[in-house]
């Protein structure tokens, strides 16, 4: 099953309107050949509509979609030759596992012996060798997921689409499957477009993430860039935990509560900005601050214990409340904190991220 070629996907000006609402608003997106790209967004953002347009189940109002050099926006779904894994698997209940996996090959009039061989191979790829004769309703959720995957790759499509394939699994299995899907992608190498609303899943699996909201592309970047350098307030807010502090910007200097801040990276333009604070990027300072640390004084309002980590809510001297997250190891300064304590928080200049107030995310 190795050596499957892949194709790039080129989406240009895809628009889909339902009444007054744009489900897709002139979306342009280039998916590189062989990459694992995730469409991430809240429900109703248009990510699923975009995937359905790629599969051919939603007819856009206008725009162009090309698989490689081939324009497919007018091609009916059954001639698009893309594999797809559905959210609820959509395994045919009246067929066995082998019947399901062999279905696309039977439609392509592949010889019987070869079908058997390729079905066996595909089941082996998803670690279900020997399950061919089982009935679909005898499988667990994770196994159904694998069968759906085997069925989607058995005819060697060069593009694989996945619509929240792991959302029905419990947390542990989901995390396990994330790694497995990722490894499978590395082995098969087909261009993969993956839809999810789970930011952690997107960060774990993707080569690049396309954050989508209101039918528009908010940011397209590698996971680290998306998290560390969000292009606008929507992306910053949607991914990770975040608190925003109002800061004054004057050219290249940024002030909070009258004091200048040390910031490594300034966004372009000179519009109003806010300082993004992520709880895990804050440090509890004791004694002298190391170089490059911005200091904030405050008082602990509440502590929420969450097992592996805990959150301390700190009201800054100048008003707003920020959260500080740290591990729960015994004996640390963080472990000894209690309500009412006065603390000094540090934010490294590389972790101090400014986002435009009127980001393109608002509408």
């Amino acid at each position: 099953m190795t050596g499957t070629d892949s194709l790039p996907i080129s989406i240009a000006g895809i628009t889909k309107r339902y009444g007054e609402v744009y489900a897709l608003d002139h979306v342009d997106l280039e998916v590189r050949s062989g990459e694992f790209l995730t469409l991430l967004g809240p429900s109703g953002s248009g990510k699923t509509t975009l995937l359905m347009a790629l599969a051919g189940f939603t007819r856009p109002d206008s725009g162009s979609i090309r698989f490689g050099d081939r324009e497919i926006v007018l091609t009916p779904p059954h001639r698009r030759d893309v594999g797809m894994v559905f959210q609820n698997y959509a395994l045919f209940p009246h067929m066995s596992v082998a019947g399901n996996v062999g279905y696309p090959l039977r439609l392509r009039k592949v010889a019987k012996a070869e079908i058997a061989a390729r079905v066996g191979q595909a089941l082996e790829t998803v670690k279900l060798a020997g399950y061919g004769e089982r009935r679909v309703d005898q499988l667990s959720g994770g196994q159904k997921q694998r069968v759906a995957l085997a069925r989607a790759i058995v005819f060697r499509p060069r593009i694989l689409l996945m619509d929240e394939p792991l959302s029905a699994l419990d947390k542990q299995l989901r995390e396990h499957m994330q790694i497995e899907l990722r490894q499978l992608h590395e082995r098969l190498g087909m261009t993969t477009v993956y839809v999810t609303h789970d930011q952690r899943e997107a960060l774990t699996m993707s080569d690049r993430i396309a954050v989508i909201n209101h039918g528009r592309l908010m940011q397209l970047d590698a996971p680290r860039r998306i998290y560390d350098r969000p292009a606008n307030r929507f992306v910053a807010d949607f991914i990770g935990e975040s608190t925003f502090l109002d800061v004054e910007r004057d050219g290249d200097t940024v002030r909070f509560g009258g004091r200048g801040l040390d910031i490594a990276w300034m966004p372009e333009g000179d519009g109003a900005v806010q300082l993004l604070i992520r709880p895990e990027r804050l440090a509890l300072l004791t004694g002298d601050a190391p170089d490059g640390m911005n200091r904030f004084e405050g008082r602990v309002q509440a502590i929420v214990y969450q097992g592996d980590t805990a959150l301390a809510y700190v009201a800054l001297a100048d008003g707003p409340e920020v959260a500080l997250r740290a591990g729960t190891r015994t004996g640390t300064a963080f472990d000894r904190l209690s309500r009412g304590d006065t603390v000094t928080l540090g934010l490294h200049r590389d972790d101090a991220v400014l986002v435009p107030v009127d980001g393109a995310g608002e509408r």
């Binding site: 051919g56 779904p77 059954h78 439609l107």
Partner: protein, 301 residues
């Protein structure tokens, strides 16, 4: 630790009272069901039992199998059973041919439009069976609307015998039975997730292949359920064949009436009833082995 020891000492606090509570609830439920249970007992079980008893009473007034023997000997009875099955079979077949596309069409419509169309399917249900049957008589007779219009349009020259025969019986029966097929079938089709057909298309199946390979097999339980209901109802049907068959289409139910009204032979009528009941139960039993009976009773899904 103290709490645990305490609980262990008093092994089951409140157990007796909790037990009594659940018993009281059960009796209350039975009390609510008792009117229905009594009614079924009095107007169903007792009369059927009485008929069963009567069927074994001969003309001499003693125990006898002559009522059943007559059925085996007489050619007329054989023909009546044959007609009954023929009408039931044809009605079911025509209902499937008409009802499947209709149910499919309804299942594809958006919810609101489907509800409206379903109303037109259900509307005849709320009209008296007798009224509908006589309406067909008026429409189908020699000088009826159908013949007059067809002759005016030049479809045929002479009035065609559309009623008082098998044709008329089937037209009326199909009209009355169609909702019984469409309703469970529609339910079954609605329960088929659109993702199955989409998945088939994604895997390379054109619309025809996707229908026959995926949708049709998945709709079969609903189709069986509807067809079974229609077939079983047809077996015992009386009014429509009596009115539209014009005495030429004699089904078991009509022979039962004849035995009672013309010959005052309760024993013969009872025996026919028992045989019809046995055949019907036999068919239901056989069908329930092929498909789960709850699918039939629960609307096919």
């Amino acid at each position: 630790m103290i709490a645990v020891e305490h609980a262990a000492a008093d092994t089951a606090p409140n157990a007796d009272e909790l037990h009594r509570q659940s018993d009281r609830e059960r009796w209350a439920m039975l009390g609510l069901a008792s009117p229905a249970v009594l009614t079924v007992l009095v107007i169903m079980v007792l009369p059927v039992g009485w008929l069963f008893y009567l069927s074994f009473i001969g003309e001499s007034g003693g125990f006898s199998l002559e009522n059943y023997g007559r059925m085996l000997e007489s050619k007329a009875y054989g023909r009546i059973f044959w007609t009954t099955f023929e009408v039931s079979f044809l009605t079911t077949g025509i209902c499937i041919l008409l009802g499947y596309p209709l149910a499919y069409f309804l299942a594809q419509l958006p919810r609101r439009a489907a509800a409206l169309c379903m109303l037109t399917v259900l509307l005849p249900f709320w009209t008296s069976l007798l009224v509908r049957t006589y309406a067909w008589l008026v429409l189908l007779q020699r000088k009826g609307l159908v013949n007059t219009w067809a002759i005016d349009l030049g479809l045929w020259d002479e009035p065609v015998a559309l009623v008082h025969n098998m044709t008329g019986t089937l037209i009326g029966m199909v009209h009355i039975m169609l909702p019984f097929l469409v309703l469970p079938l529609y339910g079954a089709m609605k329960a088929i997730s659109g993702d199955y057909v989409r998945a088939a298309a994604n895997l390379g199946a054109g619309p025809t292949a996707a229908f026959w390979g995926v949708f049709f097999p998945l709709s079969l339980p609903g189709l069986f359920a509807g067809a079974l209901i229609v077939f079983v109802l047809c077996l015992g049907f009386f009014v429509t064949p009596a009115v539209l068959g014009g005495g030429k289409v004699i089904m078991v139910s009509m022979q039962i009436t004849n035995n009672i009204e013309l010959f005052f032979n309760w024993g013969a009528a009872s025996a026919l009833g028992v045989v019809l009941l046995a055949i019907t139960l036999g068919i239901l039993l056989a069908a329930s082995r092929l498909l789960r009976l709850d699918a039939v009773l629960g609307g096919g899904h």
